[in-house]
Amino acid sequence: MSYPFPIPTPGTHTRPFWEGAKLGKLMLPRCQDCNRVHWYPRFLCPVCHSNNLEWVQASGEGRIHTYAVQHLAFGPWAKEAPFVTAYIDLNEGDRMLTVLRGVDPNKPQDIKIGARVRVEFEAANDDMHIPFWRVVED
């Protein structure tokens, strides 16, 4: 079955992220002047405004910052509801949005802020592998 959900179109400066995703690697932009990792990918470092940016392979690990359970969704996601969305604090710093895996959307109180999560990639098509995060044992 083909991947039913919206697939991003890569921008003019985000190719390394999607190339990494195809290899199962989480690539993050890092500023070579202030060493800070940021997400989403910028044209300038959002901390020090340097344009001296590089892509580094991240650990692919993080923790849940906050979450919600979507009971009303639209488009292809509508029939997936309820599903859990979450913002992930990356081990390297900054934050990513995801649809969270390995949790029960009908038991939202059992999901723990701060729980450990690991990234995995799902092939939407030959070019685009979408990152999702899954709760793992502490």
């Binding site: 003019t12 344009n51 906050t66 979507q70 009971h71 009303l72 969704a73 949005l97 649809v99 979408i130």
Partner: protein, 403 residues
């Protein structure tokens, strides 16, 4: 008055994107903006972080987010090619008024590249399609769409950090409905007016249909029809009118992020910044406020906003409602029209906030609009706070009644 503005500000630098023209490698409009801004910073020696006001044709909040700027003045006037001259004019006025000292006017438009890749960027109103902004690119895969799908994350974080509960926030919906039952113009005034109108209980809020846990539908504003307008005039003009003036004692604005991905603290909005500016301008503080009109797209929006405005300590905004202070007869009436939750909310609720604040402070709440009277309070001061986007942008006004 025009003379006052003369020579009140100067243009101190001008730069362009790295490459312009018919570019072989397509670029996005956002990229053109950012390159030009960086080059302007290098040229003038003014760090990007020192920019206080951002003026552009619809791009300002995305530019601020991309650059990590927390502005004190945002202008997105977009009326065609002359917009940028207007931006300079507006910037001069803002500088003359003492609100900001450094203003950025920015332009980025990929007229050629757009034929290959589309506009690129959320701020590119009117062009649409093609490459998304990088923030959209990295969030569009995950099924978020409506406002509640985003705001629910803030309530969960608030509950985690402060130990608040869904029941705490349900009191906000209940009390706001109590106000609506005193206002015949409110959509939820009565069962007769709307099948789901009339008084509600905290338990009903808790058990109504889930939209985005923990938000049930009664934690969410309605989507209805509304039109409104207010007139702003100089003191001289105001003195000659039959209507009572309500004085704008203070005003402030800011933004925290454009995409919720960039919200540092999910329990705080830029209303802390915008209200500080407004209070400072007014020479008044939260303790001087006798009423509040707070954008209540969701119960959590109202609670966080009350905290940001200093009306309650962090984590305790909901207590204003739960303890009855915000309710009819309480010491700090809030959302006396019934709010976006129960009066009306058409998508952008900023105008009803202004209308209700004016009616209360001018003592005309009971005069009626289209024959329908409201509930008059005795408040002489009011803080008004609008919130836009996904807890993204805020603007605060401190209004006072005429003596």
């Amino acid at each position: 008055m025009a003379g006052q503005l003369s020579m009140a500000a100067a243009i101190v630098g001008a730069a362009e994107a790295n490459e312009i023209g018919f570019l072989e490698e397509p670029v996005t409009a956002l990229q053109l903006h950012i390159e030009a801004i960086r080059n302007l910073s290098i040229q003038t020696g003014v760090p990007i972080a020192k920019i206080e006001g951002v003026f552009s044709t619809g791009w300002s909040s995305e530019l601020c987010e991309h650059l990590g700027i927390k502005p004190k003045y945002i202008d997105t006037t977009a009326v065609g090619g002359c917009s940028f001259e207007m931006h300079v004019h507006h910037a001069m006025a803002a500088i003359h008024a003492g609100i900001i000292d450094i203003a950025l006017v920015s332009h980025g438009e990929n007229g050629h590249s757009a034929r290959k890749i589309g506009g690129g960027g959320a701020g590119n109103y009117g062009r649409g399609g093609g490459v998304a902004s990088p923030a959209q690119e990295m969030t569009m895969a995950y099924g978020l769409g409506s406002a509640p799908s985003n705001y629910a994350h803030a309530m969960v974080r608030h509950m985690h950090r402060f130990g608040t509960t869904t029941e705490d926030f349900a009191h906000i919906a209940k009390v706001t409905r109590d106000w609506a039952t005193l206002n015949p113009r409110a959509a939820m005034y009565s069962k007769k007016k709307h099948p789901f109108g009339g008084p509600i209980t905290v338990e009903q809020v808790e058990t109504s249909r889930l939209i985005a846990w923990p938000l049930t539908i009664l934690h969410c504003c309605m989507v209805a029809d509304h039109g409104g307008a207010v007139l702003v005039a100089s003191p001289k003009v105001a003195a000659g009118l039959n209507t009572k003036p309500v004085w704008i004692a203070g005003a402030g604005e800011s933004m925290g992020h454009s995409n919720m991905l960039e919200m540092d603290d999910f329990t705080a909005t830029s209303a802390g910044i915008s209200s500080t500016a407004a209070y400072t301008m007014a020479g008044l503080g939260p303790d001087d406020m006798e009423m509040a009109q707070l954008y209540d797209s969701f119960t959590i929006t109202a609670a966080i906003t009350a905290e940001m405005l200093g009306l309650a300590p962090r984590g305790e905004g909901h207590l204003l409602w739960k303890n009855g202070h915000a309710a009819p007869g309480g010491r700090l009436p809030i959302n006396t029209n019934g709010g976006g939750l129960s009066f009306n909310h058409s998508g952008m609720y900023g105008m009803p906030l202004l209308i209700e604040a004016y009616r209360q402070l001018s003592g005309t709440a009971e005069d009626g609009i289209n024959g329908d009277k409201g509930k008059q309070t005795s408040a002489r001061t009011c803080v008004v706070n609008g919130t836009g986007g996904s807890l993204s942008t805020t603007a605060t006004l401190v209004l006072v009644a005429d003596d």
